[in-house]
Assembly symmetry: C2
Homo-oligomer: 388 residues x 2
C-alpha cells in the first residue's frame, strides 16, 4: 500500500548534498577514497571542557527536562557572553534556549507568520528557511543576491517586495561566507519596520570570521531585530542540538508556549555541556580552530581561483567558498556528480541553496584538514585537465 | 514596542500544570513544603547503564550529527526490541529516530495532513496533539471519551466524524492511564481505512503497565497504523530528547526529508545512550521501577477513593490517576489552586487535557515516592475536612 502525502512535501526537495554524501559513502564502501568538501559541520570534536561538562552532568544525574525556555544558568551565560565579548546588553529574559538553531527558527516563524504572509529569504541561502516558512503556511519570497553587492540584500529590493512580514538572512552566510555590514542591517530593519516587519538575523556562524572581528545585529538595538544562534558551528557542538534565540521580551512568552508544544525543551545534557563553551579554556581552543579554518580558507581560495573557477570575493566567515563554475562547465549539478564519480571529490551544487544563478555555482566546504584539501585540489586539477 | 503575534498562538493555551509548577516553585522559595503530584515525568534518574553509555559516547568523541533518520545501530536496536519483547517483526527501515516523541509527531502530521484536513484527538488527551495539528493548518476534531467506555474512542464515534485524515490516541493514555484493547484498535484502523485515514498510536507509556503485559498496535500489521514511542517514560530518559516513529516504509523518505528541514537529527549523545536502554541490565532496573510505580498506583488509588473522589476504573498504565472531583468541589481548576495554596499539594486540573467534563476532573501523577504521596494524601484529607 502507498497513499498520498501532504502537499507541503512537494515543495521540499531533498538536499543534493545528502545524496552526494550518500553516494560518496557508497563509493567509500566500495574501496574508493573520497575527499569530503561537501559537509557543513566542523570536523573537530567538541572542545574538551565541553565534553567534560557533559560527562559531569551525567555523573550528577541531570537527565530530567529543563524548563521550556532552557536552563536559567545557560540563559544567563548567553547574556553574559553578549556583554563580555560584544559589549552588548541583553537580558536573560530575552533569550530562549532551543534544540539547535532549527528549533529557534520554528519558534520565531511560528509566533510571527500567519498563513499567506510573505517572508523574504535570500537566494542563495540556507534552504531550510523557505521550507520552515511553508510549513506555517507562509509564502517564501526569494530575494536574489549576488557578488555584485557582496551577496547582501539591498533596501531597494525590500521596497520592491513591500509588506514582508519578515526578512531572513544570515551573516556570516551559507553558502557564500559573506558578512552583511551592520549599516546595511540597520537600513533593512528600518525599511521592514515601516510595515511592522521583522529582520531575522541568523548568526550561527558568528565567531567563525577571518580578518574581521565578530559582531552581532543586537548591537543595533532595534526592536524589530531577532537573532538566532547556536552552539553548533563556532562552538563545535553540532550533534548536541542546542541553539538559542534573542528576541524582544514581549515575544518570549508566546515562543515559550510554542516550545512546550513543539519540543518541550532542548536536550538537558547538551545545555549543561554548553555552559562550559564560554569558558576561557574552551574559547582558547575555539580560537585555535578559527585560525585553522582561516588557513584552510586561504589555501582553498588561492587554489580554486588558480583552477579557473570564478571567485568574486574572499569569504570573511563560515567555512564555505561559493565559486562560479561556469568558466569550466555548463551545469554545476552535472559537474558535481562527475567530480565525485571520476575524481573522488565531493562538493555541493548551487541548486541546494536556491535557484538564482544556481547552475553556475558550487560550494566548497573547508571542513577537512589542509592535507585532504590539497589532495582534493590536485584531483580537481587532474579532472579538469583530463576533460579539457 | 509590542506587536501582533500569529493567530495560531491564540489557540494555544499555556499548560496550567506549568503555571501550577511555577507557583509551587515560588511557594517553595518562600519556605513552603510542596508535594508534587503534577509532574509528568518519572522521578528516577536514567538507568546507570544508559548514563555510562552516554559518558562513553563523549569519551569516544561522538559529537557530530547523526543521519536525519537516526543512528543505523539504534534503528536496528529498536527493531530488535519489537522482535524480542513483543515478537513483532519491524524493519529498521520503517523506524525513524526523532528528538523525542514531539519530533515524531511533527513528522507524522507533517507528511499526512494538508491545511483544512480533520484529525481526531481524544478529549481528554495529550494537549500538544491538537496544537500540532493546528500548526500544520489542520482542524483538530475533539472526540469525547469517558469512563463509561474505558476512555476509548468507539467506532461509532468515528463513523459520526467520517473523513478523518487521522485519529490520534494514546495507549496507555495521558491523563487516564487507560489502555485501548488491540481489538478496538483494529476496528478503528479498519474504519479509518475506508477514507484513507491513519491511526496514529502514541505508545510512549508502553512498558509502564500494571497487571497486564505491554503490547503494541504494530502487532495488528495494518498498513494505516503509525506508532510513536520514546525513551522518555518507561526508559526514564526524558531530558535526552530521543523518541521514534514506526511507519509504513513508503512514508519514511518524506519524513526523512521533513526531518532534515525541521531539526536535522535527534541529539547524538542521547542516541548512543539509548543503545544501552535495551540491555538486560537496564531492563532489570526499569522493571524494578515499574513495580515501584505499581505500588504507588495502588496506594494512591485506594487513598484517593477513600477521600471521596470519584474513581471509575483503576489505571492499568502510565503514572496518572484521573479522578472526578465533583463530589467534593464544583470546579477542578479552582480546587487545584486552593489545594496548592492552602495545603501545599500540586495536582493538575482537567482543563489541561481538553474540555469534555474537564471542570469535574483532576489528574494525580504518582511521579514521587510513597512517603511523599502519603504526605500529600494526608494534606488533602485535612484540606477537605477543613473545607467541609
Amino acid at each position: 500500500m502507498s497513499g498520498r502525502i501532504a502537499d507541503r512535501l512537494g515543495g521540499i526537495a531533498p538536499f543534493h548534498v545528502m545524496q552526494i554524501l550518500a553516494h560518496a559513502r557508497a563509493l567509500e564502501q566500495g574501496g574508493r577514497d573520497i575527499v569530503h568538501m561537501e559537509i557543513g559541520e566542523p570536523d573537530f570534536v567538541s572542545p574538551a571542557p565541553v565534553l567534560a561538562a557533559g560527562r559531569q552532568a551525567l555523573l550528577d544525574g541531570h537527565t530530567h527536562y529543563t524548563p521550556a525556555a532552557g536552563l536559567p544558568a545557560l540563559r544567563e551565560a548567553i547574556a553574559a557572553y553578549y556583554q563580555n565579548r560584544f559589549g552588548v546588553e541583553v537580558s536573560p529574559r530575552q533569550i530562549l534556549v532551543t534544540p539547535g538553531a532549527s528549533g529557534a527558527l520554528q519558534l520565531v516563524l511560528g509566533v510571527l507568520v500567519n498563513p499567506g504572509e510573505r517572508v523574504g529569504v535570500t537566494d542563495p541561502g540556507y534552504p531550510c528557511n523557505r521550507h520552515m516558512v511553508t510549513m506555517y503556511g507562509g509564502a517564501p519570497v526569494a530575494i536574489p543576491v549576488d557578488a555584485a553587492d557582496d551577496y547582501a540584500v539591498s533596501v531597494s529590493q525590500l521596497a520592491a517586495g513591500d509588506g514582508l512580514r519578515a526578512l531572513m538572512l544570515a551573516s556570516p552566510a551559507n553558502p557564500t561566507g559573506n558578512l552583511v555590514p551592520l549599516a546595511r542591517l540597520r537600513e533593512l530593519a528600518g525599511q521592514l519596520a515601516v510595515n511592522d516587519g521583522y529582520l531575522i538575523c541568523d548568526e550561527i556562524y558568528q565567531g567563525l570570521q577571518y580578518g574581521v572581528a565578530a559582531d552581532t545585529a543586537l548591537r543595533l538595538g532595534r526592536p524589530n531585530i531577532i537573532v538566532i544562534n547556536s552552539f553548533s558551528k563556532y562552538f563545535g557542538m553540532t550533534g548536541w542540538r542546542v541553539g538559542w534565540v534573542v528576541a524582544p521580551e514581549w515575544l518570549v512568552e508566546p515562543m515559550e508556549r510554542l516550545a512546550q508544544n513543539l519540543f518541550l525543551a532542548a536536550p538537558t545534557v547538551g545545555q549543561y555541556a554548553a555552559l562550559a563553551a564560554f569558558s576561557d579554556a574552551s574559547i582558547e581552543i575555539l580560537e585555535q580552530r578559527r585560525q585553522a579554518f582561516e588557513t584552510r580558507r586561504d589555501l582553498l581560495y588561492e587554489a580554486v581561483s588558480g583552477l579557473g573557477f570564478g571567485l568574486t570575493c574572499k569569504p570573511q566567515g563560515a567555512f564555505y567558498l561559493y565559486a562560479d563554475v561556469s568558466p569550466l562547465a555548463a551545469d554545476s549539478r552535472h559537474f558535481c556528480a562527475q567530480l565525485l564519480e571520476q575524481a573522488g571529490v565531493a562538493i555541493t551544487p548551487g541548486v541546494d541553496f536556491g535557484s538564482h544563478l544556481a547552475s553556475q555555482h558550487v560550494r566548497f566546504a573547508f571542513t577537512t584538514g589542509l592535507q585532504r584539501l590539497s589532495t582534493g585540489i590536485e584531483r580537481i586539477r587532474a579532472f579538469l585537465a583530463a576533460g579539457a
